[in-house]
Assembly symmetry: C2
């Protein structure tokens, strides 16, 4: 089969690799129909050292179950399924608590671990019963892009909002205007936020954020951005801040614009071992929460809003490529030509 | 009057200073009957550069109101009052939310700001109506040490437990065996924790922690301590971790022993601008919360348990000095001869 392999920074290739196949009795084999390039794929795209063997990429997919192992019971051949970016058994103590990203038998797709990448014609899905979510059979194709976001970015934006304690009447600031930040705007609106401030500068993203529910845009940088958010929030800062980038300066901004007693929900993968502005967070009693989103846990909650058209996170996809177009999809996202790239097989 | 002035590291003097007096109409003048040396006073005691003018010390007190300004209405001359370590107007949006340490008109005692230190014969208390808590007139003197802890350490230990989301059935680890950590044990027990693990090595503190409700003691250091806590918690770590030190290594330990999805409530004043183990906290979805405790908000909740003898946080005082004994009180706490020093006037 053909699959995406990254060999180093800016070196993404689509190659013929051994066919994906069942290995464990708890596996399913999924024929991928839709996948994505993720903002987090851009970290290795920018920094990965050359590798002779390469790294299989991709962790978001919708597909059709082609085969199942003997111990798979809730998923069957022919099911249309969402594959979240993490696999999980659905049974361990953490899965039961709704933290599937810490599953005792779990892991992440496309990290070179037990599971291969999803930017491929097919993918082996470990722990299929716990991992895969079967979509309603009468799905409307027009909704597929939005359903695909449940594999990562919509669930991740929701996690940022939940861990930042967004609720009715709250003021919310979103740091990061990528697909996750934009989904964070949707999530904040959905959870009842009164004021939603997006920090961003790209006209196309700003326009989309406004249709998603952003009430204010802050395009300044650094201290000026902090000052502007304070002005917009009565001088105090935002109750809830969604950190959707992961860099030192974005995390510093997030903590700086949080209101005393407020919370930062971070979902941008932190690129540094230390967190900045720790003392500021402390003195203001700002809670820092978040992490890899247990998107599997959120599908059930978010799905009806997509099926009934109340939210349209699929609008973050502003470019669609075929398998051979994947390397250029990476380039386009990295150059910020595209917000998020969908791959159709 | 006589008061405590720090001139540099290990240079604490009791000197004659101008009498405390009313300045603002919202002030009260309090004759101090009981004060303390705080663990946080030891940071400047160890590191303060020499100052010609010195810094007035002390932020925890019980005393008798001697005079009030024209705008003070809820406190009167002769009242026995608790003075929390922060002053606050009791009326602003943050006070109303129970975060008095972020009061818009507030500040901290003994920091060289608007309010003088409480390790003195008298202290001017700004925002007296919001700051002071009037004790029941029929107070029992034997309870005074415990009541005095409501000015800081008991409220701070409680804040660590609250922000670490301690609750019935939870496993709790307490990093730091000082007075705050020991009060954190009391708070964790009071909030229903099932297992309370104290990280400490001093026999006297361990003994006290056990009487306060600690179920397990971990005396190892570093990675071995982390391993031991994991063993005690089914391999996963503690639901709630109370960080009561503020150093890089203690914060790293706190995050390392938290269970995925757990929370660290930090009340040790962070000595570094950056927080360690940020990526570990992220990948495990560990929430980091806490800050200066709004002890004023907690007095009402904790007071009945002291008055009715259910908790005895005053047992953290294992040495009592008079005014002239304060410099030696600092030394004794710094040398870990004493857990916490009470000053009786």
């Amino acid at each position: 089969m053909r699959a995406t392999v990254m060999y180093g920074a800016e070196d993404v290739r689509v190659e013929t690799v051994p066919d994906a196949s069942l290995i464990e009795p708890t596996d399913a084999l999924v024929r991928v129909t839709h996948a994505c390039v993720c903002g987090s794929d851009l970290w290795p795209y920018r920094t990965m050292e050359h590798s002779e063997t390469g790294r299989r990429m991709g962790h978001e997919a919708i597909g059709v179950v082609e085969a199942i192992g003997d111990d798979v019971h809730t998923v069957k051949r022919g099911d249309v399924v969402i594959m979240p970016f993490a696999y999980s058994d659905g049974a361990c103590v953490f899965c039961q608590e709704g933290l599937q990203t810490s599953c005792i038998h779990g892991g992440f797709f496309g990290t070179g671990g037990a599971a291969d990448g999803a930017q491929a014609e097919a993918v082996r899905v470990p722990q299929a019963d716990g991992t895969l979510f079967v979509l309603p059979a009468d799905k409307d194709d027009a909704l597929l892009p939005s359903l695909l976001t449940l594999s990562d970015v919509m669930g991740t934006g929701h996690h940022a909002a939940v861990t930042a304690r967004v609720g009715p009447g709250k003021s919310v600031a979103v740091v990061g205007d990528g697909a996750v930040g934009l989904c964070g705007v949707i999530a904040a609106r959905r959870l009842g936020a009164e004021r939603i401030i997006l920090l961003g500068r790209h006209p196309d993203r700003i326009a989309l954020a406004k249709t998603f529910g952003a009430t204010d845009i802050v395009s300044e940088r650094g201290d000026e951005a902090v000052e502007r958010v304070r002005e917009l929030t009565g001088g105090f800062g935002a109750h809830s801040v969604l950190e959707c980038v992961g860099l030192e300066q974005s995390m510093r901004a997030a903590i700086s614009i949080a209101r005393p007693g407020g919370a930062v929900g971070r979902v941008g993968v932190p690129q540094d071992e230390t967190m900045p502005a720790s003392q500021l967070a402390f003195y203001n009693n700002v809670t820092v929460s978040g992490g890899p989103a247990p998107v599997r846990a959120y599908i059930q909650e978010l799905l009806p809003d997509i099926l009934e058209g109340r939210i349209e996170p699929g609008r973050v996809f502003d470019r669609t490529v075929c398998l051979d177009g994947i390397p250029d999809g990476y380039r386009a996202m990295n150059d910020r030509e595209a917000i998020k790239v969908m791959i159709e097989f």
